[in-house]
Symmetry: C2
Subunit: 351 residues, 2 copies
């Protein structure tokens, strides 16, 4: 028996705009896998531009970021707001078991239909992960969640870059994770809008909070940028997506970075954190900083997409791949170097 023609299924963009969660999940998968036509889809779905409040959490492993994020997500749910969450999953073998506990706590959120969680593996993407993760954040934003939360672990370039795609960046430290100088070296001072010292009941918490305040004060005053520079931190890629005004850690742009103390296990300090996030949001909007950050992010995204497409164009060309293979033979025979072969291939690629 011949199949009856089915109704044409509403297209993905239509279902996405109608708020159908499976369409969001599918769009994310298409972006993650970079399937044929994914950039056309992103163009279509992201036309409206960003509108969600985006909050990023970063810090060392075991600092309790996921627990804090869960508290913040629950608070938004109490306000009846939809929450999209991206957890960039560390798979470092040296980060220990604390993460698993965090992840389980976060999974409690997954039963709430007003919350959508996506985990992404952080290893192995060589630059691609940061762009893809930002595209997933954009999709959640465009889907209509009022809040989009992202959590990254560690201070690699990828993590800093992702975190800078948030409007409000919360850096979570714990006494065990080292002192304020270390946080400064790691470039955390540059990206933090709010500092949280978690596990505030532990020895050293008050001292760490004090150190961070002093470091922020110093930085705002005189030349702590030098410290960072000497440690080889190059934040150009981060800056691409982040602060148009990178230096004013304190209030030169009008925002005074608060240093809060929390105990995420017991929920202590979460209310003050929510207030700080809202206050930062209001400041972003009033100061024009939100607009500036969004423009910088758009600039960064264009660059990311151009570079990704150039790579794709290069290595999907038969002519270029044939030249590559022939070039390896010539290098092995001593008749060329990678540099002379690359020059020939570039002549095939670039205008």
């Amino acid at each position: 028996m011949p199949e009856r023609p089915t109704q044409p299924k509403a297209d993905l963009a239509t279902r996405f705009r109608a708020g159908q969660v499976p369409a969001l999940a599918r769009a994310i998968s298409i972006a993650e896998d970079q399937r044929e036509g994914f950039e056309e889809l992103l163009h279509e779905l992201l036309k409206a531009g960003p509108s969600a409040g985006r909050v990023g959490f970063t810090g060392p492993p075991g600092a309790g970021k996921s627990s804090l994020l869960a508290h913040v997500a629950n608070a938004y749910r109490d306000w009846d707001e939809g929450v999209g969450i991206v957890a960039v999953d560390p798979t470092s073998p040296y980060s220990g078991g604390a993460l698993l506990g965090d992840r389980i706590r976060m999974n409690d959120l997954a039963t709430d239909p007003g919350i959508f969680i996506r985990s992404m593996a952080s290893r192995g993407s060589l630059g691609g992960l940061a762009t893809t993760t930002k595209e997933v954040l954009d999709l959640m934003d465009a889907f209509g969640f009022e809040r989009v939360l992202v959590e990254t672990v560690g201070v690699g370039q990828t993590e800093l870059e992702i975190t800078a795609a948030a409007d409000t960046v919360i850096v979570v430290l714990v006494p065990e994770s080292g002192d304020a100088i270390q946080a400064m070296k790691a470039g955390l001072m540059e990206i933090a809008d709010i500092f949280v010292v978690n596990k505030a009941d532990r020895p050293g918490a008050a001292r760490l909070a004090k150190e961070v305040r002093q470091a922020l004060h110093l930085r705002a005053g005189h030349g702590m940028e030098d410290t960072t520079g000497h440690h080889g931190v190059d934040l150009t890629q981060v800056a691409r997506e982040a602060r148009p005004t990178a230096t004013p850690a304190i209030d030169s742009a009008g925002w005074e970075i608060p240093v809060l103390e929390t105990n995420a296990l017991e929920g202590t300090g979460v209310e003050a954190l929510m207030e700080a996030i809202e206050k930062h949001r209001a400041w972003l909007e009033q100061s024009g900083e939100l607009d500036a950050r969004r423009r910088d992010r758009a600039r960064g995204r264009i660059r990311d997409v151009v570079e990704r497409e150039m790579r794709r164009a290069a290595w999907s060309s038969t002519e270029v791949n044939d030249g590559l293979t022939a070039g390896v033979d010539r290098i092995a025979a001593g008749d060329a170097t990678p540099y002379s072969v690359a020059r020939e291939l570039l002549a095939l690629l670039l205008r």
Copy 2:
């Protein structure tokens, strides 16, 4: 009084080939800073192709890699061989103080004129570091050092990629750094030619060595690749530079990965390590694997250089940058997305 015309100074390539160390240092700086014409210089200096024995050391922070490397370097010096060393300096704030001690031990080597050490910061280069570090290794090789040693810390993509530029990769573990399963997840099984369990006097060292042997055995036997896959380790970029035969952790290509125990502080086990390195070297040459690895590295280098030059071409073009700025305005006005702007810019760039 007018200055007398000076003799034209011998050019950099001539001085480099004459074995003048300042010329090597200068060539490295030019490559690191990617100064005007650096790829032409590399083409000129690297024409002869690689000939040094390259040994890479990697593993978690505090495993004693630098101490081991110092022992190995000293052994080569006893054989009257020249040694070039590249230490990729971790600036992670969470790695603790052990590194400083290691670094100081390595500095003892710096007084030996037959040893040339270059440190490179590992943070902030966003993909650029791996390529540059490999270029520095090539320069040391071309300069004529019989041995070129490289040390990286950690298991990020960059570190794995750099390590894979060595002919012989030594993975150094310590009981404190976790078990063999963690090493496997981190992709260390794929890149190791020799395993070393250092600090072998500590509790758990023998057990760790046994676990590693079992894991290697399992891997060679049946399907441990799956474990790696499930943890999201994508070694495509590493494979680009590394093993033509990635799977045979044990002896399917004819090499049986030894698991040695050392105590770098006391020098115990260093002799066995030297023997293992020499044995691996002989195997590489006899099996044709050295040639295969060098071809794979040449292929990877061509790709790296092509991608670097495409990025440079894009962002040094006035037309493209003007289009970028105009594009950001149009996105802010809701008339474009990063994807539509990128498509326009790509049309300016690609053939």
